[in-house]
C-alpha cells in the first residue's frame, strides 16, 4: 500500500478483555514504532522495532502490553486485560533506514481504543 495502514480504526471493548491492534508499515521500511496518545496529550512512546535487532520495549507501560513484528512487515500490539486508562489513540509509524539513520517517519491514522 501507499502508506501505513492500521486496523481497526476504532475499537470498543469491555474492561478486562484482550485487544489486538494491527499495523502494516510501508514496504521496505525497517523501523516501526508504536505510540499511545491520550486525549489532548502528546505521543507516548511504547515500542520500537529496527530490522532484526531486539525491539526497544522501554516505553511499554505494563506487562499487559506486548508487541510483535513479523520480519520487516506487519506488527501487532496486544493489550491484555484492558483497563479504562488504556483508552487512547494508538499510532503506528514506519521509516526507512539509510546508512544507519532513520529517515522521516510516516504515521498511520491510528486506532481509537475505548474501554468501557
Amino acid at each position: 500500500g501507499a502508506g501505513v495502514s492500521q486496523s481497526p480504526s476504532n475499537k470498543v471493548t469491555e474492561k478486562g478483555k484482550d485487544v489486538e491492534l494491527r499495523c502494516d508499515p510501508i514496504s521496505g521500511h525497517t523501523a516501526l514504532y508504536w505510540y499511545r496518545q491520550r486525549l489532548g496529550q502528546g505521543l507516548e512512546f511504547l515500542i520500537y522495532f529496527q530490522g532484526n535487532s531486539a525491539p526497544d520495549k522501554s516505553g511499554l507501560p505494563s506487562d499487559r502490553f506486548s508487541a510483535e513484528r513479523t520480519g520487516e512487515s506487519v506488527s501487532t500490539l496486544t493489550i491484555q486485560r484492558t483497563q479504562q486508562e488504556d483508552s487512547a489513540v494508538y499510532l503506528c509509524a514506519s521509516s526507512a533506514n539509510v546508512r544507519g539513520m532513520n529517515t522521516e517517519a510516516f504515521f498511520g491514522q491510528g486506532t481509537r481504543l475505548t474501554v468501557v
Binding site: 502528546g42 505521543l43 507516548e44 512512546f45 517517519a105
Partner: protein, 111 residues
C-alpha cells in the same frame, strides 16, 4: 536520552510569521533535529529536519545555532490551516534511534 523543551502553546494571526523555539541542551554530536506537525484526529507528519545552520523547504525553515542546543522552526505567513501541534524531536544515538515526542506546541492561528 536527549530531552526537548518547547512552549506549550502559541497564538498567531493569519499572514504573520511564526517562530517556535525548542531547546535540546544535551543533544549529541551525531543527532539531528526534526519537526513534525499534527492535525486533530491525524497522525503526525514530517515537516523538516536539520543538523546545523539553516534548512529551508516549501513548508518551513529551520534555524540551528552553532552550539545546536536549540532550534527554531519558522513558518512564513501562516494561515488558519496551519493550526496544529508542532513537535520538536532529536534523532540519533542519544535516543538510540527511536523517536521521542514531547508535549509539542499547540499553535492557534486566528483570522
Amino acid at each position: 536520552l536527549a530531552k526537548t523543551t518547547q512552549p506549550i502553546s502559541m497564538d498567531s494571526y493569519e499572514g504573520q510569521e511564526v517562530n517556535i523555539t525548542c531547546s535540546h541542551n544535551n543533544i549529541a554530536t551525531n543527532d539531528y533535529i526534526t519537526w513534525y506537525q499534527q492535525f486533530p484526529s491525524q497522525g503526525p507528519r514530517f515537516i523538516i529536519q536539520g543538523y546545523k545552520t539553516k534548512v529551508t523547504n516549501e513548508v518551513a525553515s529551520l534555524f540551528i545555532p552553532a552550539d545546536r542546543k536549540s532550534s527554531t522552526l519558522s513558518l512564513p505567513r501562516v494561515s488558519l490551516s496551519d493550526t496544529a501541534v508542532y513537535y520538536c524531536l532529536v534523532e540519533g544515538s542519544s535516543n538510540t534511534g527511536k523517536l521521542i515526542f514531547g508535549q509539542g506546541t499547540t499553535l492557534q492561528v486566528k483570522p
